[in-house]
Amino acid sequence: MRLRSLVEAWNQFFFEPQSPLPVCLFRILYGCAVMGTLILLRPEWLTWYGTHAWVSLATMQKVAPGLRLNLFALIPQNDSWIEGLFWVFLGSAVFLTIGLLTRLSSISVFLCLTSIHQRDLYITHSGDTFLRVAGFFLMFAPAGVALSMDRLLRIWRGKEDAPVQPKSPWAQRMIQFEVALMYFTSFLWKSMGAPWVNGTALYYVLHLDEIRRFPIPQWIEQPLMLKLGSWLTLALEFSLGVLIWFKELRYPLLLCGLLFHLCLEYSLNIPMFQWDVLSAYVLFVDPVDINRVLNWMNGRLPAPLRRIAEIPA
């Protein structure tokens, strides 16, 4: 292999223009996931982040010192300001979802999301972490060029008429990279633990009282099934981390991943986690296939809305 071909492959992967539809669709799903997280937190905004929260800002700054993007450290410490910050956050998430002032909304969502995590690092799960790191790269993506109010407004003002132009997908690639790395490192961590290797891990996961959700059929609780389940988890996480990059295997793997996360959603009570991760699956779907689905849906939309998604065939 020559260095030149490596550079060409790099440029092709990150910079060769492609339809921005996957990342625009991801923006919508991501926005919904952020809104879902915020709405679930709504009754407890002040319980976790208020002036008399379970962990005070001073304690948090002591256990997690250093310079951090944390708006809570900048606003006056009273509950009205803190609630205000959450309403700004929710408003930004709504704007991001509908694609209004998309770039600004994505920056605002990332800042607010990072701030609530930095404000209390002890109540976040991996789904929250994924939203945070994906949100970082989403700020750089052309996420508002299609399926957005921004585009609709540009069309109405006569500033845009042509179909959506292809864009460099480098920000989308970084979110895809995060998804793959998440699965691959999960696989590596698990493969270092004896319960995953000997196949007993799933027993412990499914018998954690605090995390159980709906009842699981008896036949799944048989030792052989639990062993198979533990090993399948390892195999699937490895595949979604590594083999997902091979086009021929992508759709079958995405389908397996979807079933895997739906099973977890049924059996484990980790609100939003599965949906946070699944929202990013759309980034692996071929834009042509997304276009096909959107065209089918377009026929059922009013004419002005049809043009929001218009892309080259």
Partner: protein, 176 residues
Amino acid sequence: MAPNTQTRIKRIAISAFLLFHIVAITCWCLPFSSPLIAMFDNVIRPYFFWSGLFQSWDTFAPNPKLVNSYIEAIVIYKNGHTRNWVFPRMEKLSLTDRYWEERYRKFVENLREDANVALWPDAGRRIARLNNNNDISNPPEIVVLIRHWSEMVPYRSAPWHAQIFYEYNVKPEDLR
């Protein structure tokens, strides 16, 4: 500057940004220890903590949690009376409530760890406030935190253990 040169410079800058983040995030996440990775992690740590790019993907790994647990508090009032207070236990809640209250599960999972001793005074304060009857003559004086746990033994039930792990002396300003 010609548009081509401008595009080229932009592409080089973005490539440097991408390469740095790919290497940095990979080194940060991989569960391998090597002096080189450790050195690199130390260099990028301030940036990762600042930007929110810190991440770990070790849910249920390397070992899943092997104990069921919960935390209970005993609030002792000035007149000697006591009140038991338990953090919301997911298994005792309805399916809907546990979806809304799940953050408590995560918090308790962390609070019970000795490594998180720094969180205990705040928790003591908050429990005192939650159990304050607004009776000036009989305020909460002491909050005792007790952890309960039961190690999981496959296909068998196991006994529960309890241990007092923290005692907080409530100050008058905590209740204001």
